[in-house]
């Protein structure tokens, strides 16, 4: 790891009071600007002196994108600056989207959940330590992946979706939002765009220097959850080294629509095994029309890891993924 210093390099601090001001500032500063939400990803970068933006745009005063309200279609509209604690403890989220409440409630520690925001958790950068040490890897604009060689420490890296870079997406809420068919609302000076959560995250094959569709000048403002499926069952599980406080080694989020004891539709999403939350389309297709039984889960687990390819130190993730997918079907409630 890089040496974390007490002092961070100087920058111009901007504190806009609204989204319009924020995106104007972001547009003005382009790639020299940095958007600050809860600061939990940001200050690591700054103290490591790896990222040295000229301007920091602090969203702390942008209240219009904080809070949870009902959406027009019976779903929920969650502002990107809503704290993870508020998401995890909100009555509507707990009652109608326990999948998201579970995921948000398992992020790091209570202190971090109080400070961290939903938007920040979704768009945070990967935790690959080679990358975060400031080395010139592919993701940093260089020409090497330090984590993919036979000598690398790659226990936490990916088993699917690698394309030169083998970093993983570290977010806990991202797989839940993909499983819920959430929509991400992005605002820039050119207007507002909406992305299905599954399309919001991109892999290194598309752009090796980004983890989401966001480009300089783009601001994630809201997350819109559609009305829950009728007869929906949920499952979320996060495996980590320390239960007290850690990023996931593998996490799974599932939504099953079960009617008459048979799965009508499903979303199975696994994270921290790829540079993006992996929606298991083949698994979803295979379990439709079957009972959510252990047998179905077993079959699903095998399908889930068909394309998995371990690095030197992370073959345990294949077994973890297989079992988590199995449980996400068998134990969904």
């Amino acid at each position: 790891m890089a040496v974390i210093r007490d002092m961070i390099p100087p920058f111009e601090l901007y504190q806009p009071a609204g989204v319009d001001d924020a995106v104007r500032l972001m547009d003005e500063h382009g790639s020299d600007g940095w958007v600050l939400a809860g600061g939990l990803d940001t200050f690591d970068w700054f103290k490591d002196r790896i990222k040295r933006p000229a301007a920091v745009i602090d969203l702390g005063g942008v209240d219009e994108i904080r809070g949870i309200t009902g959406a027009a279609d019976g779903g929920l509209d969650i502002g990107a600056m809503t704290s993870l604690t508020d998401v995890a403890e909100h009555a509507d989220v707990q009652g109608r989207y326990p999948l998201l409440a579970d995921a948000a409630g398992l992020v790091a520690t209570p202190q971090i959940r109080n400070q961290g925001t939903l938007g920040g958790n979704i768009v945070q950068d990967t935790r690959c330590w080679y990358y975060r040490s400031g080395w010139p890897c592919y993701r940093a604009g260089g020409n090497i992946c330090y984590a993919a060689t036979r000598r690398s420490m790659n226990r936490e890296h990916c088993i699917v979706g690698a394309d030169r870079c083998v970093a993983v997406n570290p977010s806990d809420t991202a797989p839940a939002l993909v499983a819920l068919d959430a929509e991400m609302v992005v605002v820039s000076t050119s207007g507002e765009r909406t992305y299905p959560a599954a399309d919001f995250f991109i892999g290194p094959d598309i752009d090796i220097e980004r983890m989401t569709v966001l480009e300089p000048g783009d601001l994630l403002t809201r997350v819109v959850l559609p009305a829950p499926w009728e007869g929906a069952r949920w499952y979320f599980e996060k495996i980590r080294d320390r239960k007290s406080w850690d990023f996931s080694l593998v996490s799974v989020a599932s939504t099953l629509s079960v009617q008459g004891g048979v799965i009508q539709d499903a979303r199975i999403v696994v994270n921290s095994i790829a540079p993006y939350p992996v929606r298991m389309g083949a698994v979803e297709a295979a379990i439709r029309g079957r009972e959510p039984s252990d047998e179905t889960g077993h079959m699903a687990g095998e399908i889930a890891v068909e394309d998995a390819r371990a690095l030197r130190h992370n073959d345990y993730k294949i077994a973890l993924t297989r079992n988590l997918v199995r449980r996400s079907i068998r134990d969904a409630a």
Binding site: W135, P136, D163, D207
Partner: protein
């Protein structure tokens, strides 16, 4: 504008990591300026069709200029080259798609194409037809004068290939081989179907220069492709372009542009039969 992209490696050494992407636009702009200036300055002088009847005697109406193997190589190289340039540079300028697999497969196909071309040149063609000799240099000088409007200058007839075509071939060959050799080395950075990754087989600086050479060759090929396509569609060159499609040129074009003493066509009947066979 910077020429190189540089970075500090984990040992604090300042190493090159690739060519500056600004040079993509430089190549495009230089190519566009070249096309515009050339189009404005050099007259589109289409052949008159006047030939010496004595020279024409005994020659078939159609003469083979490119064998099927040579044409196959040309178009195969064109396809792979466009695939390589599009997959290499479109993502850099913001048109993003999964490009890596297409890029290296196109690269492998290009290598196979080049190997076939080398075999074909040595086994089936006359290697020396592409060699630049003193007569070519003189042809080039006169041709340049004629292009610049010198009244008394007349471009002498060429051998099988005009000197500008030979020069293009040699520059494209250097750029292509540079990209191919460095591209093969770059495949040692990743596990692939041929071999396991050997990321640390070279120092960071050596790897950096390999990426720089690959980038320079690739960007050079942008300019070369622009120039090549431009000349292929110029009116006075279209007969050459057609010959790369159907294989033959007509007798008048042959006598107008080629010196029979430098490009001696084989026995007329054979030529005609081969041309018809294409």
């Amino acid at each position: 504008m910077e020429f190189l992209r540089r970075a500090l490696n984990p040992w604090g050494e300042d190493v090159p990591i690739g060519v500056s992407w600004d040079l993509i636009w430089a190549a495009v702009i230089i190519g566009a300026v070249f096309v515009v200036v050339h189009a404005l300055m050099v007259p589109k002088k289409v052949g008159t069709g006047e030939v010496d009847p004595d020279e024409a005697e005994g020659l078939p109406e159609k003469l083979q200029r490119h064998k099927p193997g040579a044409r196959g190589f040309h178009w195969s190289m064109s396809a792979t080259m466009f695939a390589l340039l599009i997959t290499a540079f479109f993502p850099v300028i913001g048109i993003q798609f999964p490009w890596v697999t297409i890029h290296w497969i196109a690269g492998v196909l290009l290598i196979l194409t080049v190997i076939y071309h080398i075999y074909h040149v040595f086994a089936k063609q006359d290697f020396w037809t592409m060699w630049i000799d003193r007569r070519d240099i003189e042809e080039g000088k006169q041709g340049l004068k004629a292009a610049l409007g010198k009244a008394d200058a007349e471009r002498p007839r060429a051998g099988k290939y005009p000197v500008d075509q030979k020069m293009f071939h040699h520059v494209a060959m250097v750029a292509t081989l540079g990209a191919v050799v460095t591209g093969v080395l770059m495949m040692f950075r990743i596990d692939n179907f041929l071999w396991a990754e050997r990321t640390y087989m070279f120092s960071d600086a050596t790897w950096g220069w390999i990426y720089v050479i690959h980038g320079v060759c690739g960007i050079g090929l942008i300019f070369l492709v622009i120039a090549h396509v431009y000349f292929a569609i110029r009116p006075e060159k279209r007969w050459m372009t057609w010959s790369m499609i159907n294989g033959w040129i007509d007798r008048d074009r042959y006598l107008e542009n080629h010196d029979p003493a430098r490009w001696t066509v084989p026995e007329a009947g054979t030529q005609a039969a081969e041309a018809e066979g294409d």
